[in-house]
């Protein structure tokens, strides 16, 4: 069975298709909002990725079955859990909390780069990295992958990173008012994200909170002059490949209008 190389990319998900003709084909896709299709059969994503890519496809004692089924959406996020100082030329420096992109794996080491410094590639110990799991539940023939992180959570993280960079520039340029409002918004977002990730919210509260998060991201992006992300009513970002142009336009209009309303409110 052939296998294309893949990369365990942190804020990207992958298409994995297994069928009887082509074996395993993986196409890394950029962007955090694509679907991952998984094989059915008791399969832990993590176990699959850890498995020796040289040819073994057996996990948990069962062979992976050769039919592709759309199961769910998974986003991986390899993180450094400790500071690592390089001990040789080829080694990469890690700071705790760094998101890494893993390209290859060998003998307890990963090769890749950090999100902070994409240009520099090197190796680092696998023991310093925590791979966020996705778990699989089986109901007969249907497998359901439970995502480790909602897409909105990933988006919030990316937005926060962008905002904090701007926030620091505002500080240096002494734009005190905007600096302070951005600080408030960032802290709110951090708090909301924390609540979502904790998994302790009842379902209705979660739905409400997701809307609040989406609204806050949109408002913040607007006052900072950043691009508007187009969403549906639940706050999920719309996939341009799957939404009609007219729907996209309407959604954009609605989003824009609600941000305008919000700005008017703030002024009043």
């Amino acid at each position: 069975m052939r296998c294309d190389a893949f990369s365990l990319n942190s804020v990207a998900s992958h298409h994995f298709l297994l069928d009887s003709h082509h074996g395993l084909a993986a196409t890394p896709l950029l962007g955090p909002r694509r679907c991952v299709k998984f094989v059915n059969g008791p399969l832990s994503l993590l176990a699959w990725l850890e498995a020796d890519v040289k040819g073994k496809r057996e996990m948990g004692g069962k062979k992976v079955l050769p039919s592709a089924t759309l199961v769910g959406e998974v986003i991986l996020c390899p993180l450094a859990i400790y500071n690592y100082d390089p001990r040789g030329e080829q080694q990469l420096r890690l700071q705790v909390g760094d998101t890494v992109h893993i390209l290859e794996k060998l003998e307890g080491w990963y090769r890749g780069y950090t999100l902070r410094k994409k240009a520099q590639k090197g190796i680092f110990p696998a023991s310093y990295i925590h791979l966020k799991e996705a778990t699989v539940e089986g109901i007969g023939q249907q497998e359901i992958i439970i995502p480790a992180d909602l897409p909105l959570v990933q988006e919030t993280g990316a937005t926060l990173r962008e905002w904090v960079q701007i926030w620091q520039k505002l500080y240096v340029a002494n734009k005190i008012t905007l600096f302070r409002s951005l600080q408030q918004m960032a802290y709110s977002l951090i708090e909301y994200r924390s609540q979502i990730v904790s998994g302790t919210l009842p379902k209705d509260d979660l739905v409400e909170l997701k809307k609040k998060v989406a609204a806050k991201i949109d408002y913040g992006n607007r006052i900072l002059g950043l691009d508007l992300v187009v969403r549906d009513e639940a706050g999920n970002t719309l996939d341009p490949d799957r939404t009609s142009t007219v729907s996209l336009f309407r959604a954009h209009e609605t989003a824009s209008r609600s941000v305008d309303d919000r700005i008017q409110e703030e002024k009043a």
Partner: protein
């Protein structure tokens, strides 16, 4: 705060509903910001220099914008205000009298005097300032003492300042120290450092929330046998 008996504990728990507990967890999470684990403390120290650099930039930018100062003493004089501004290349301190408090930007050519930064020997504050050592009763005012600073420059001259408020005092003393290559030591620097580092740390540790960080560094494996990390598809 700890209940001393089971009954007390039961009563306490009965009083808490789900949303209360959630709120308590939230506030715990917020204060848990000060993780004590070694890599976190280490990380804070590692990012401190970059953050100090940001603060230095901000101070120098403020000095380039300039500030208006009041002259001490004789109220009857016509010119009560003077303005001081750092040149954009950070090499010259321009200053001059103003007739009234400025409304917008004060152009450099309005400021008649200047001091090259390379001539500045040191910055004095509070009681050490020459204008604070004079015996006149007005000058012994405590508030004024806390806002006073002086620039000593070659050959043996001083430029005396009284900042309009604590914030400006901190900005200017920090900025002048930064120009002289010295550490910025004001309360404002400490507080700015805290604000900026806290946010940066929160951001870096966003994804680590539900993950336990090990107490000690994880084991480092032996170096790999070859650096040829390609997949073998045989």
């Amino acid at each position: 705060m700890k209940p001393s008996s089971i009954d007390q504990l039961k009563n306490k728990l009965r009083g808490l509903n789900y949303s209360e507990i959630l709120r308590l967890r939230q506030s715990e999470r917020m204060s848990q910001d000060d993780f004590q684990s070694p890599p976190i403390i280490e990380l804070r120290e590692r990012i401190q220099p970059e953050i100090l650099e940001l603060i230095k930039q901000q101070r120098l930018n403020r000095l380039c914008e300039g500030s208006c100062f009041r002259k001490l003493g004789n109220r009857r004089r016509q010119e009560k205000f003077w303005f001081c501004r750092l040149s954009l290349n950070h090499k010259v301190l321009h200053y001059g009298d103003l007739e009234e408090s400025p409304q917008g930007e004060v152009p450099f050519d309005l400021l008649s005097d200047k001091i090259p930064v390379s001539d500045i020997k040191s910055v004095l504050t509070g009681k050490d300032c020459p204008h604070m050592k004079e015996k006149s009763a007005l000058k012994q005012n405590k508030e004024v003492l806390e806002l006073a600073f002086s620039v000593l420059y070659d050959p043996d001259e001083t430029l005396n300042f009284v900042a309009p408020n604590k914030y400006e005092y901190c900005i200017w003393t920090d900025g002048l120290c930064a120009l002289l290559g010295r550490e910025m030591g004001s309360d404002l620097t400490r507080s700015d450092l805290d604000t900026l580092i806290s946010m940066e740390m929160k951001l870096r540790l966003l994804d680590l929330e539900n993950i336990t960080i090990p107490e000690a560094p994880p084991p480092v494996p032996k170096e790999p046998s070859s650096y040829n990390f390609t997949y073998n598809y045989s």
